[in-house]
C-alpha cells in the first residue's frame, strides 16, 4: 500500500481494469452517459499498450498486430495506429514500413548505454535535489526507506514490491530535483526501457542490503545540502548496477 506513493498518476496499476472495451460509444449508437472521462480512444489505447509492454504481456520483439489488438480493445484500427505511433515516438516500439511495429528488444550493450545515461542524469537529479530539499522532503525520503527496509525484513514479500520500493526512491529523488523535463525523461522514458529489459532477462540478482545502505548515504548528503556528494554517491550507486551488467556481459 505504500508502494505507489511516489508514482505519477499514469503509473498506478489500473485496478479497475475494465474487462475489455474501452470504447465510449458502440459504433452507431448514441452515448447516454453524461459522465465520461474526456479522453481519446487513442489515449486509452496508448496507456494500455504501454502497460502491456512494460508488464511483458507483449514481450520484446513481438509483433504488434493491429487487427488483433483492435478487436481486443474494442476499437477500430485508426486510434490504435495513432497510439502505436506515439509509442514509436517514445521509442518503445519500432516501425518498419509495410511490415508493422515490433516491441523494442534491448540487448545488453544497449542496456548499458541506457545505464550510462541514467547515471549521468540521476547524478544531476541528486545535485539539484540537494539544492532544493528541505526538512520535510528529507523526512519523506527517510520514511520511504524505512518502509522499504521493513519490506525487505519481512522477506516474504514478492520481489515485485521490493523492486517497486527501489523505483519509488529514485522517482522521488528525481521529482525533488524540480526539473520537470528531467522527470519526464527519466520516469516516462528511460525507466520504462529498463523495466522492459528486466522483464526480458527476468531480473538480475538483487543486492538489496547494499543498495539500501547506499540509499541512506544519498539521503544523508541531500539532507546536508551537499549537492556534489549527493551527485557522486548516486552516480556510484548506479554505476555499481551497470558494472554488474558489464560483468554479466563478459561472462
Amino acid at each position: 500500500m505504500p508502494s505507489n506513493a511516489a508514482l505519477p498518476p499514469d503509473k498506478v496499476p489500473d485496478n479497475l481494469d475494465s474487462p475489455d472495451s474501452l470504447a465510449r460509444k458502440p459504433p452507431g449508437k448514441r452515448t447516454p452517459d453524461k459522465i465520461q472521462i474526456t479522453q481519446t480512444l487513442a489515449d486509452s489505447a496508448f496507456e494500455r499498450l504501454r502497460n502491456a509492454i512494460i508488464k511483458g504481456e507483449l514481450p520484446p520483439g513481438s509483433k504488434v498486430n493491429e487487427p488483433l489488438l483492435s478487436k481486443q480493445y474494442g476499437i477500430s484500427r485508426g486510434p490504435l495506429r495513432e497510439a502505436i505511433r506515439r509509442l514509436a515516438g517514445s521509442k518503445l516500439v519500432e516501425i518498419k514500413p509495410n511490415s508493422g511495429a515490433k516491441v523494442i528488444s534491448l540487448n545488453k550493450s544497449q542496456a548499458i548505454e541506457i545505464y550510462q545515461i541514467r547515471e549521468s542524469l540521476e547524478g544531476l537529479a541528486c545535485r539539484l535535489a540537494a539544492a532544493h530539499a528541505n526538512a520535510e522532503h528529507c523526512h519523506g525520503l527517510r520514511e520511504l526507506l524505512a518502509n522499504h527496509e521493513a519490506q525487505i525484513q519481512a522477506e516474504n514479500w514478492a520481489q515485485y514490491y521490493q523492486e517497486a520500493g527501489d523505483w519509488d526512491f529514485h522517482y522521488q529523488i528525481v521529482e525533488l530535483s524540480g526539473n520537470a523535463r528531467l522527470f519526464s525523461l527519466l520516469c516516462d522514458d528511460l525507466y520504462d526501457l529498463l523495466r522492459l529489459y528486466r522483464v526480458q532477462t527476468s531480473g538480475q540478482p538483487q543486492r538489496p542490503e547494499r543498495a539500501f545502505k547506499e540509499h541512506h548515504q544519498i539521503v544523508d548528503a541531500i539532507e546536508a545540502n551537499d549537492g556534489e556528494l549527493a551527485e557522486l554517491l548516486m552516480r556510484r550507486h548506479i554505476s555499481n548496477a551497470r558494472q554488474t551488467l558489464v560483468r554479466q556481459l563478459e561472462s
Copy 2:
C-alpha cells in the same frame, strides 16, 4: 558545403523540396513508378512537419490544423494524424483531446531545464569520446574547427552557417561517444527543442570567439584521452551558455 558533414541523414536540408504533393499514388490510380522510396506517407509527413517546426514555419504555440496541412501536403488526414502523434511522442507538439495539437512553446525556465540536462549529457558524451578517440577522429575535429574559424573570419557568412558549425561540433562529439542512445537522445530530441527555442527568441547574442576557444580546449582534452577533463570542460562550456540564459531571465 562542409556544414552538414556531421549531420545525420534526416537532418540535411531537403533541397529537392518537392513542390507539394508527397503522395506516391493519386488516390484511385495505379503507381507506374517502379523506382519508389519505400517510405510511408506518414513518414514523409513526419519529417516534413518536423522541419517546418524547427525552421519556424510553424511557430511555437501555433495550432496544427489537420485539414489545412492535409491539403497542403496532398495526403489525407489519416497519415497526417499518425505523423502528429509521433511528434507528440518526441514532445515537439502537445495534444489536447478534442482540441488538436499545438507546436510546443518553451519559456526560459524550460529552456534552462533542457540546458541542465544537456550539460550533464554532453559531459558524459565528452568523457566517452575521450575514451574512444583515436588520432584520425581528432584530426577530423580539428578540421571542423578550422572550417568553423574560417567562416567566422570571413564574417559575411550568414549567422545560420556559423550556428550550424557549432551544432556540427557537438554532433560530432556525441557521435564519437559511441553511445547510440545518447546520440539519439541529444541529436534527435533535445537539440531540436533548443533550436526551436532559438527560433522563438530569434537567437540570443552569439559569443563566437569565446566558444571557439573552449571548443579547442575540449579537443585538446579528448586528444589527450583525458576523459575527466573533457567532461569538465564541456560541462563548463554549456554551463556558460546556460548562465547567459539565466541572466537574461533575471533582467
